[in-house]
């Protein structure tokens, strides 16, 4: 952000909520950059911006659409960038119909589910393009159920192949560029005035500031936070900004980009190595019943060899993940233990889970540094859901509402629930703080930073690493004599991390497994330095392919700490990215 010539902060109070990050905005401003704050509220961010533009809450998509229209209608897009680096020149199928043609809906709308079947939206193909199965275009209802969009978290969607038709003059009406032009034509400054409450003058100032500060010599940066993401249209706002920034050539250049100002120390890490239902590490999908029933179904959906880019090698990431988890039990003749994975049948998000608790389908629940009794939407439903559990484990630094609702929750006060009627067993387990354990956080720009352990946790406090390692050990011991096939994935799991004298695992050894290694002839582990070294023959293992390299050469690069990141402009010797 320090390199930007214009910074648009929309849907964030960055000066107050990310004040230390904001120093780079202040730095850019001191260098002459223009800072514009678009937000319904006048906050401290507005106070230090060049201009505050108030906007009607939730109407951001109209403003962004109008900026796209302004760029397209006035020929202000960056052609040397747009033609080679975006899909603007790619042709879309003849069957695609836009909202103008269909009175507000795109082609493929399914009134039964309220979702789209996007088959007609596909790129037009060369005649010699490889045959693609019908399953390549998943119905929107299914994609929505398994939150498929999350898979684009590292490098965009998987495409079946790269043999698409293009018109680099951008004149063909079926090019993405011409479709955009038609689609966004209705987003006029007058529409912005009427729907967003932004005056024509303010819109002109914004549009001029962005376009005059983009192009060959200059860059504009966007920053957003929950002011975008917590709207039902949040994903569309961000896509709108992405279209705009691509048209202006502001992606992948110093001072450009769209900065997500995320709110938790490792919320990026917990998406990359997901404690999420629909993903495996590195944005590989969790298999869905009916879609990924066999390993070849799964591989076909995740790793088409005909596409370009690094998803073409997804088979190497998949095999290496299974090798990291199931070691020698993952073999070519059992599809690398693919059938050890459980299958999804729809959304299994936290609110679906809470509903399942109320229906007595969930017996046990772990809360790990999260407090849904007051932190999630509909706290009452959360507390009532928990009152249906057989057991609840709450792990936190402090005694939180989610651990004590059975005796002092609002439902106890109103008499709706009575403590003695609640059969839920509750285990409160004190957690270790950030200075009492060693490990990595991934910050908002996907930089991994190692924290050294400063002191031991007090009393019975314990890190999640130690707790889950020990829990896994107990479960495996208790099932050790089982001959039940369903216990094989637990018994074959690689769970042999080196431990200290108290039996706690080394977090550095876990990081080394995440990084990945090659089996040497002597049976040792040689750390890998890049995901391009991963193989499908079972000779490599890696717990999260996008993090391969963090432990290159057996060195913990997340702990690199050259002051200032080293002498180079990239400052790459502080942490690992």
């Amino acid at each position: 952000m320090a390199n930007a010539d214009c910074i648009v902060i929309q849907g964030s109070n960055m000066a107050e909520c990310h004040p230390v990050g904001f120093q780079w905005v202040a730095e850019a401003k001191a260098r002459g950059a223009r800072v514009i704050h678009i937000d319904p509220r006048f906050t401290r961010t507005s106070a230090v911006a060049d201009k505050h533009i108030p906007i009607r809450a939730g109407s951001d998509v109209v403003l962004l659409g109008a900026l796209i229209n302004y760029v397209l209608a006035n020929d202000l897009w960056f052609s040397e960038y747009v033609i080679p680096y975006t899909n603007a020149a790619t042709l879309v199928n003849e069957g695609f119909l836009d909202t103008e043609d269909l009175g507000g809906l795109f082609s493929g709308f399914d009134p039964d589910t309220g979702q789209y079947d996007p088959t007609s939206w596909a790129y037009a193909q060369h005649e010699d393009a490889p045959e693609t199965a019908d399953g390549d275009h998943e119905h929107g209802a299914d994609a929505s159920a398994r939150a498929a969009g999350d898979q684009h978290g590292s490098g965009g969607p998987v495409l079946p192949h790269a043999r698409v038709l293009r018109d680099e003059t951008l004149r063909d009406p079926r090019t993405v560029f011409q479709i955009l032009k038609r689609h966004y034509a209705r987003y006029t400054p007058e529409m912005v005035r009427d729907l967003c409450g932004v005056s024509l003058d303010d819109f002109a100032y914004l549009a001029r500031s962005i376009t005059e500060n983009s192009g060959r010599e200059r860059t504009t940066c966007f920053a957003y936070a929950v002011g975008w993401t917590q709207h039902t249209l949040g994903a569309q706002f961000i896509r709108g900004a992405a279209i705009l920034q691509l048209l202006l050539g502001n992606m992948g250049r110093p001072g450009g980009g769209i900065m997500a100002l995320r709110g938790h120390a490792s919320i990026q890490g917990s998406t990359d190595i997901p404690t999420l239902f629909n993903l495996l590490p590195g944005y590989l999908p969790m298999p869905t019943a009916g879609k990924h029933d066999t390993y070849s179904d799964y591989l076909g959906a995740a790793a088409s060899k005909q596409q370009k880019g690094f998803w073409a090698a997804a088979d190497t990431y998949i095999v290496s993940l299974f090798k990291a988890w199931w070691g020698d039990a993952a073999r070519a003749d059992n599809d690398w233990a693919y059938d050890y994975l459980p299958r999804l049948t729809g959304p299994h998000g936290t609110y679906q889970t809470t509903t399942a608790m109320l229906a007595d389908q969930v017996e046990g629940y772990f809360l790990l540094g999260q407090n849904p009794a007051v932190g999630s939407a509909n706290g009452r439903q959360q507390r009532l859901g928990m009152s249906h559990l057989k057991w609840l484990v709450v792990r936190d630094l402090n005694m939180i509402e989610s651990a004590t609702w059975w005796k002092d929750g609002p439902e106890i006060a109103t008499g709706e629930l009575a403590t003695e009627d609640i059969a839920t067993e509750v285990f409160f387990m004190p957690a270790a703080s950030h200075v009492e354990k060693a490990g990595t956080f991934t910050q908002t720009q996907r930089l991994l930073q190692w924290r050294h352990k400063a002191i031991d946790p007090p009393g019975e406090c314990q890190s999640e690493l130690d707790f889950f390692f020990q829990l896994g050990q107990r479960i495996r011991q208790k099932l050790a004599d089982s001959t039940d096939e369903r216990d094989r994935p637990l018994l074959d799991l690689t769970w042999d991390y080196p431990t200290d004298e108290e039996g706690n695992p080394s977090s550095e050894a876990v990081l080394a497994e995440i990084n990945g290694y090659r089996r040497t002839d002597a049976g040792g582990r040689e750390p890998l330095s890049s995901y391009t070294e991963l193989k499908t023959d079972g000779s490599t293992a890696a717990g999260c392919w996008i993090y391969t390299g963090v432990y290159a050469g057996g060195v913990n690069h997340a702990a690199d700490r050259l002051p200032g990141g080293g002498p180079g402009r990239s400052q790459s010797q502080w942490g690992w990215a």
């Binding site: 230390v20 917990s270 889970t353 050294h452």
Partner: protein, 196 residues
């Protein structure tokens, strides 16, 4: 206190110390003179990262040996910004500056507690015993919530009896072990703040 002497007259003190306006050393109290920053009492300094938002500011954790108490016990006495960090350049926001109070909070829980079914109060429970009890319940609920195949005979191989929430405040290594153990157990209902 030493015996009072005319040399301690404020105006004399001001003249003697060169603090003519009486705003410096001439008017400091004994307590002020003996105060030292907590950081100077530390035995060692450890590099860390702020636990709050995702900017990732560098921290320096000042650790001191506790005298007299348990042998080898140490205490965090202060947490400061790390000037070496290219992200934060030594700065911390008010919340990050106060993270010593997160670590040493008087509300911090350090004991495992257990609430039995229908009980009105907590009781103490040994940690080892607690982990063992959780393991038993995990296995039992996993079994009861097991789904081997769906109505169409397709493989599911999962349990719907166990769920988890949390992870955005945890380390990558911790999330990795949680996801690995849950997936191997067939437990799919796992979420964190990233999608709330």
């Amino acid at each position: 206190m030493t015996r009072w002497s005319p040399l301690q007259w404020p105006v004399v003190r001001q003249a003697r110390s060169g603090d003519v306006l009486g705003r410096g050393p001439a008017v400091t109290s004994e307590r002020t003179r003996s105060m030292k920053p907590r950081t100077s009492t530390a035995d060692r300094v450890v590099q860390s990262v702020c636990p709050y938002c995702a900017v990732g500011c560098g921290q320096r954790v000042y650790v001191k040996r506790v005298e007299g108490g348990e042998v080898g016990r140490e205490k965090v006495v202060q947490i400061e910004g790390d000037p070496d960090s290219p992200i934060s350049r030594g700065r911390l926001c008010p919340k990050g500056s106060a993270s010593e109070q997160l670590v040493n909070s008087p509300g911090r829980q350090t004991q495992v507690l257990y609430r039995a079914p229908h009980a009105r109060e907590w009781q103490r429970l040994d940690r080892d015993k607690a982990i063992d009890m959780v393991a038993d319940r995990f296995i039992e609920s996993r079994r009861r919530g097991w789904q081997q195949r769906d109505a169409k005979g397709r493989l599911l191989r999962r349990t719907m009896g166990i769920a988890a929430l949390g992870g955005a405040t945890l380390d990558n290594e911790e999330n990795y072990l949680i996801k690995k153990l849950f997936t191997a157990a067939g437990a799919v209902q796992i979420e964190n703040q990233a999608r709330i």
